[in-house]
């Protein structure tokens, strides 16, 4: 736990200011090296052969013609990967099973989605590699497929895995199913709760699968030596996780695998698992040359980890003066080809913004023939909270209550027992609701066909294993090494903390993200944890340095420990000692480091606990064109609790980015499958993410309710911003049209159809 002397009392006060990020110059000049920017001499180009069928038994694979093509140096298939026994491991904020990981990386018995890897080649050029794929003969036995989650749950649905039995139900089933798991949380007595309700609203919602939409495709470059030492550069949110997965899948010692996380062009949870990395290593091992692999945009859409489509049933009851007395929900989430949808966090977060006595939420994790889902920013929560926030709004309307007042009346606060278990510490939901209430936005009148919606959102955030080091160089500059890839400004925030902790100027701190050989295990960048945990580890590292320097001073000044203290960037003599000794800065000690005991440094190795939930409230105004169903977002405000904003501009950036992802999810983004189970919109043309002209400025209000378990009061902020937009926009649509839309996306054909059905489609 940190010393009291942090946060500005060391003579600096960078935390909370808008410094220029240390990695920024390289990013604005094109010098920064992202995954596909790395090359090694003699490298081969790797490409993947992917199943054209959404569901098929792989009867045989003949690679002989590909292997004979001049320029082809290695071909791999399922035969190059040993099978893995069943073992669940954390993957981002979700869990994965190694038996599934090895099959997702390279299909074994079956191809379970269009795009599923079936073989891979490494060749001396991209053109030869592409040609070689066409020479691989795969015999498929095409099977019926199923995509939709409700369809996949039917007893007569095509079965993906004959060894998958529904967990979490009694009695244990003896027939396999596509339902991997049933989960449930219960608080109080739901039936008694509904009996007390004066008003009940019950609705069913449906959301389509969406993709994280990072602009940088997956990329990996691997080189394997004859003794099995492996070096890998890849774009990832978690290079230690990549190392662990690759070592396991390929039978390598973890210590022999060195993974460097390149700069990463977006992840949002989608780069927390492995796709190309084990393939690149396996090819390099076989070819005895470095192998570089980059996904095309089509491959990213078809074969990485988009999130679940879902069906959600919500029933809420309230008394006539607005107390929520009962909340029920049943969630059915697509997991994709292998189990592990984020239904569990979806279940846990559904009612988490509210203080309720009676809650019951059930969730089903269901496999179907689409790519295995990966995390997407607060995984699971946007879907369940979209449904609940929509129903909360309907309750407000039925009760004749203001939607913000209704939320304030029921807001979770410090001490609230969350339905998913713990008693909540201090949280800032009320503060965000009040902040929104005070805005000019909330108080601006609207015109016809314009609507206003509000919604709140909750995400827990995580801590986890983190290592970070600080080294004082001979000239007094400080080298900072962190172990979580920097997705969006982390190095700036961590440098500010280090500068404040040690009392050195910000530009004397140089941060890098270390490779896996340089630091102990770091959990990945995700769960809104990198600034939270990284800063905690740095505070510990700084504490070690300060303690060390005080000890050295004691020797130099012949003083006792209580006669020296570190403050304002220097070790200072106290009391009598002050008469014979002068304060010494870090730079002063750096000059004599060797003579006083050796190089100066600190190494924080922690399992960060105490991550505090971040709550937010979003407000949106939109306008509907009643003749075409097109929606224009007019105005958007985000208020969210950051605990303590280390770098306010990057905190605002998280709010704004998450809000716009939510706008896309609500209005236009969806995976469109044909009846043949194939993806029809595997590109940015028809997978419609918001462009600059689609959105207005996003007003960001940073609320700070300190997290008492972090030395600076920090809460993770990265994920909560994507949670409220879906509900806020649906609520604004209802306000504009009088129609409650329960199906996302609310695209123009759907909106126009609904308007016309009610005779509303004409100006």
């Amino acid at each position: 736990m940190a010393e009291a002397a942090t946060n500005g009392t060391n003579g600096q006060s960078y935390v909370g200011t808008r410094t220029i990020r240390p990695d920024g110059v390289d990013k604005v000049t094109g010098r920064a090296r992202f995954g596909a920017d790395f090359n090694l001499p003699g490298q081969l180009i790797g490409r993947v052969l992917r199943s054209p069928h959404p569901h098929a038994r792989i009867v045989s694979i003949d690679t002989s013609r590909a292997e004979a093509l001049p320029g082809v140096k290695a071909v791999i298939t399922r035969d190059d990967f040993g099978d893995q026994p069943s073992e669940f491991v954390p993957a981002g904020e979700m869990m994965m099973n190694y038996k599934d990981v090895v099959r997702n990386v390279m299909a074994r018995e079956k191809a379970l989605y269009e795009g599923h890897p079936v073989a891979a080649v490494a060749a001396t050029s991209a053109a030869i590699a592409r040609h070689a794929l066409k020479l691989i003969d795969v015999t498929y036995e095409v099977l019926p497929h199923v995509i939709d989650v409700v369809e996949a749950m039917r007893p007569d649905a095509p079965l993906l895995h004959d060894d998958l039995f529904t967990a979490g139900v009694e009695p244990k089933p003896d027939k396999p199913s596509n339902i991997a798991k049933r989960v449930e949380i219960v608080l109080g007595d739901i039936e008694a709760g509904f009996a007390k309700a004066d008003v009940i609203v019950e609705r069913e919602f449906k959301t389509a699968p969406v993709h994280q939409g990072y602009i940088e495709p997956h990329a990996a470059l691997a080189t394997v030596s004859e003794d099995g030492s492996t070096e890998l550069w890849c774009t990832t949110q978690g290079h230690y996780i990549v190392r662990a997965h690759c070592a396991r899948l390929l039978g390598l010692d973890i210590g022999k695998v060195r993974v460097t996380a390149t700069e990463i062009g977006g992840g949002f949870g989608g780069k927390t698992v492995v796709y190309l990395e084990p393939l690149a290593i396996a090819l390099s091992r076989k070819a005895r040359r470095p192998v570089k692999m980059v996904m095309s945009r089509e491959e990213v859409f078809k074969a990485s980890g988009p999130t679940s489509g879902a069906t959600v049933h919500v029933k809420m009851g309230a008394t006539k003066d607005g107390r929520f007395v009962a909340g029920f929900a049943e969630l059915k989430y697509q997991a994709g080809a292998f189990q592990g949808s984020p239904v569990q966090p979806g279940v846990m977060c559904a009612y988490a913004p509210y203080d309720m006595e009676n809650v019951k939420v059930i969730g089903y994790d269901v496999v179907s023939n689409r790519p295995k889902v990966a995390a997407y920013r607060a995984p699971g929560a946007p879907i369940s909270e979209f449904a609940v926030e929509s129903v909360v709004d309907e309750l407000a309307k039925k009760l004749g209550l203001d939607p913000i007042e209704l939320r304030l009346m029921n807001a979770a606060r410090e001490g609230t027992k969350a339905a998913y278990g713990p008693k909540l510490g201090p949280i800032g939901l009320e503060e965000t609701l009040n902040a929104v209430k005070k805005t000019e936005h909330w108080n601006t009148p609207l015109r016809k066909w314009q609507g206003r919606g509000v919604a709140s959102g909750f995400w827990f955030n995580i801590g986890g294993e983190t290592c970070a080091s600080l080294t004082v160089n001979e000239d007094g500059t400080v080298s900072l090494m962190a172990g979580t890839p920097d997705i969006g400004g982390l190095r700036a925030s961590l440098s500010m903390v280090a500068a404040d902790e040690l009392g050195v100027p910000y530009d004397k701190v140089r941060p890098i993200i270390g490779d896996t050989g340089s630091l102990g295990f770091n959990f990945l960048t995700g769960g809104s944890r990198s600034a939270f945990s990284g800063s905690m580890a740095l505070v510990e590292a700084a504490r070690q340095i300060k303690a060390d320097l005080c000890a050295r001073a004691c020797k130099l000044w012949d003083a006792k420990p209580d006669q020296v203290e570190f403050s304002h960037g220097a070790v200072r003599p106290l009391g009598a000692v002050a008469e014979k000794a002068k304060p010494m800065t870090i730079a002063d000690f750096a000059k004599i480091a060797g003579k006083t005991g050796g190089p100066i440094g600190g190494y924080g190795r922690i399992n960060a606990q105490g991550a505090g939930p971040s709550l937010g409230t979003h407000l949106v105004d939109l306008e509907v064109d009643p003749e075409t169903g097109r929606v224009t977002i007019l105005r958007y405000t985000v208020a969210q609790d950051a605990g303590r904003a280390l770098h306010p501009a990057y905190v605002e950036g998280q709010f704004q980015g998450g809000a716009v992802q939510g706008i896309g999810w609500a209005l236009n983004e969806e995976y469109i499958y044909g009846a043949d189970g194939k993806l029809q919109n595997a590109g940015f043309l028809d997978y419609r993410m918001p462009v600059a002209s689609d959105v207005p400025m996003i007003d960001a209000i940073v609320v700070e309710v300190a997290n008492p378990r972090h030395p600076y009061g920090v809460r993770g902020v990265g994920e909560t911003p994507i949670v409220p937009p879906l509900g806020a926009i649906a609520n604004a649509m209802e306000n504009a049209t009088g129609i409650r839309f329960t199906e996302l996306p609310m695209s123009p054909p759907k909106v126009l159809k609904a308007l016309r059905e009610r005779g509303l489609g004409r100006v």
Binding site: T628, R630, D686, P748, L752
Partner: protein
């Protein structure tokens, strides 16, 4: 894969006519390169026509305007006078894709790509534009509405290249407009496109009109009934309703990932009306 950049039209025609495998004309490349990348086409020969001066110029011709088939949308927008005479044609060309795409995309390519959702084609058809083709048998002219026969099907013979478009002379009090429906504000392929050109008489009534609809049939449509519905009127509500009905009646759209049949038909009427109103307003103030 061969790439040739002939300097004369004759050389280009000879290359195209003499090609034994799949040969493609390259102007802006904003469709061809995408299709090559997606393995939809694998040409043996690419013929880049951008060095042929005639395809790259905008000149006045017999009172009208002649626009080279390889003039980019951005260049059309920068032309000092064209957008005053044909604002609909210019705005249509500048709705294709993004700023970057408009820096390369051409009217010739947009037509010859053969998509019924092409943005510039309804505006050209409403303008009564004539395409000039050059081929092994010499030159010929074809109204733009007769060039695209269906998706990726053109009325061009082997070796024929679209060289330029002729926009006829404008009577006074004439203007045009192009509108399209897309779900976002930019970047999407038109779900419905409507081009309208009108000429107004001295009394302010519509003396002549042409209405063209895109993305609602296997080819871009010229809809004479929609034009007839508004000729003689001042586009009062009754005329607008007739226009919408005629536009809708002409549609034979598909259901696809961009829009349903029902949606396209409904919106076609709305856009025809809105484009006509803009064209009329422009014509009155021109």
């Amino acid at each position: 894969m061969r790439y040739e950049a002939p300097e004369t039209l004759g050389a280009a025609v000879a290359l195209l006519a003499g090609a034994t495998g799949d040969a493609r004309v390259l102007a802006g490349g904003t469709d061809l390169l995408v299709q090559m990348r997606a393995d939809v086409v694998e040409p043996e020969l690419i013929i880049d026509i951008k060095r042929i001066a005639e395809t790259r110029t905008v000149t006045e011709d017999r009172g009208g305007w002649r626009i080279g088939a390889a003039v980019t949308g951005a260049e059309l927008k920068e032309h000092p006078r064209l957008k005053q005479v044909w604002p609909g044609v210019v705005e249509a060309a500048n709705l294709i894709g993004s700023t970057q795409v408009q820096g390369r995309a051409t009217l010739g390519g947009n037509l010859c790509n053969g998509s019924p959702a092409a943005d510039s084609v309804p505006a050209l058809i409403a303008a009564a534009a004539i395409a000039t083709l050059a081929g092994p048998q010499g030159r010929r002219d074809l109204p733009v509405e007769d060039v695209m026969l269906g998706p990726r099907q053109l009325a061009l013979g082997k070796g024929e290249i679209v060289v330029s478009f002729w926009l006829p002379p404008r009577p006074p009090r004439s203007s045009d407009a192009y509108l399209r429906f897309i779900p976002r504000t930019e970047m999407d392929i038109a779900v419905v496109g409507a081009g309208v050109s009108v000429t107004v008489d001295g009394a302010g009534a519509i003396a002549a009109a042409r209405v063209s609809l895109g993305a609602v049939a296997p080819r871009v449509l010229l809809v004479p009934e929609a034009a007839q519905a508004i000729v003689g009127s001042r586009l009062d509500r009754a005329a607008q309703d007739r226009l919408e009905a005629a536009a809708r009646a002409a549609c034979r759209p598909i259901d696809d990932k961009r829009g349903t049949t029902e949606f396209r038909i409904q919106v076609a009427g709305v856009l025809a009306r809105r484009a006509a109103l803009i064209a009329l307003d422009r014509a009155r103030t021109s």
